[in-house]
Amino acid sequence: MARLHRIRRFGDFAHLTLSAPAVARGARPGQFLEIRTGGGPAPFWRRPFSICRATATQVEVLVKAVGPGSRWLAARRVGETLDLLGPLGRGYSLAGREPRLLVGGGYGVAPLLFLAERLRARGCAVEALVGGRCTEDLLLRNELRRAGARVACATEDGGTGMRGTAADLLSERLRGRGRPVRIAACGPRGLLAAVARLARRYGLPAEVSLEETLACGLGVCNGCVVRVKGEYRRVCVDGPVFPAEDVEWHEEE
């Protein structure tokens, strides 16, 4: 259980700050929460949300109001109590001092803010490559800058930054780059497949956060599997973050 401490709405999005000390203490970048929505029998499943920031006592999530569950969540008021489980899943690796390139597509930028903060705290140089269809899709840019990350943007309509995707930005950054760098990505599957391709081409380590529909979120139902290194792995507990090179991308490649 967690108390809604603050909610900030913009466009289709809501940024929720929840008071949940036990959850906040254990949270690592890339992990997620399973939140019960609807206040009644529907929606039937909890809904997963990446943790986009955690302090000593609070966790934050970014909610895109697209369906009944997320719309309900985006309409909560400060002081209300939410039923949540977490932190769940395996997050991004914080190991290594190499500079990081964080690649976020749209809503996928959420866990990268948390990752940027923790990496900066460890002294890593961080650049966030943020992409979206249009300027309104570019999320958390100011928060990333305040966290100490350099931020570059790409929009498919050319409204802000480079015309193209976050993968196009990544491609540009890697071209002719000599220094080693680690890549972490979150976003639509097509973007992640493109990041995986680039990482392989340049021989760089990359981690991607995969998304699947979750029934339990705890690893018991086997309903959220992806092909990783020739076998089915559960996104909820074996992931959601996997090494990009281990994921079988199939049709995206």
């Binding site: 019960r36 029998p41 529907a42 929606p43 039937f44 499943w45 909890r46 489980l85 699947e212 529909t213 029934a215 339990c216 979120g217 705890l218 690893g219 018991v220 139902c221 086997n222 309903g223 959220c224 599997v225 992806v226 076998e231 089915y232 507990v237």
Partner: protein
Amino acid sequence: MKKNKRRQPSLAVTVGGLRLRNPVLLASGTCGYGEELRGWLDFKAVGGIIAKSITLRPRAGNPMPRVVECAAGMLNAIGLANVGVEAFCREKLPALRRMPCAVLANVAGSTQTEYLRVVERLQPERGLAGIELNVSCPNVQAGGMEFGRDPKTLERLVRAVRRETTWPLWVKLSPNVTDILPLAQAAEQGGADALTLINTLLGMRLDIFRRRPALAYGTGGLSGPAIKPVALAMVYKAAGAVKIPVVGCGGIETPEDAVEFLLAGASAVQIGTGTFRQPAAGSQVAEGLRRYAAAGRFGSLRALIGAGR
């Protein structure tokens, strides 16, 4: 205040050859091999767990998507993904043995020989309180539900397994039949110690954008509160037609749901999909039953069983 008024009513039950501290178990396929739920649920608070179905050989399971949400429930077509009996004994049993509650293995197969070989492999192992036969999985091509649809085939299978083991033997039946009674009776005739009712109901959803079935397998098994009335009717009917105990399963999320099943004639209940929404559902239902029994005039929960009939 009289002393006996404060006495905790006993929730202990003996079901199908098994002594349980309370009549609440976690259903097969919804509690993994136990380890997945560690930290989310107090296993000392439930009567037992039924481990995920095991087959002779490992099974990768069906392609994705495997699950889809419905009104008051969900569909799954996991396809009996499991590590196989050998890895189960080697990798999963050590942790299961340390569980502070009864642990039943759930056995599935595509032929009678496969069922028998799995049961045979389990026999020398310590730490299992019994076996539940899965003759009701709707999500595999061969076997599974086929054994649970024909009384003669079912009786032959149960009798053969009965010869293989002296452990408590439960049989989990499918609701996807014209009449549950001949199957309940066939399992009893074959030597089952208890019946678990029900497995999932065959169902499907379609994706209106892709114009394809929502599940890669096409159809799936419906679970959750949506199936509770169906499960109750089947428990009610079966409990009146067999002498062995019936274990109720289907959409149970609250203590009140469990009481309904007990009143209908179930001797114990299993929490399935409820665990997905609330990982501690099993222990919460058990705790609620304790309060329910304490508040009523029942000396023990046994008095509830079949009281609604």
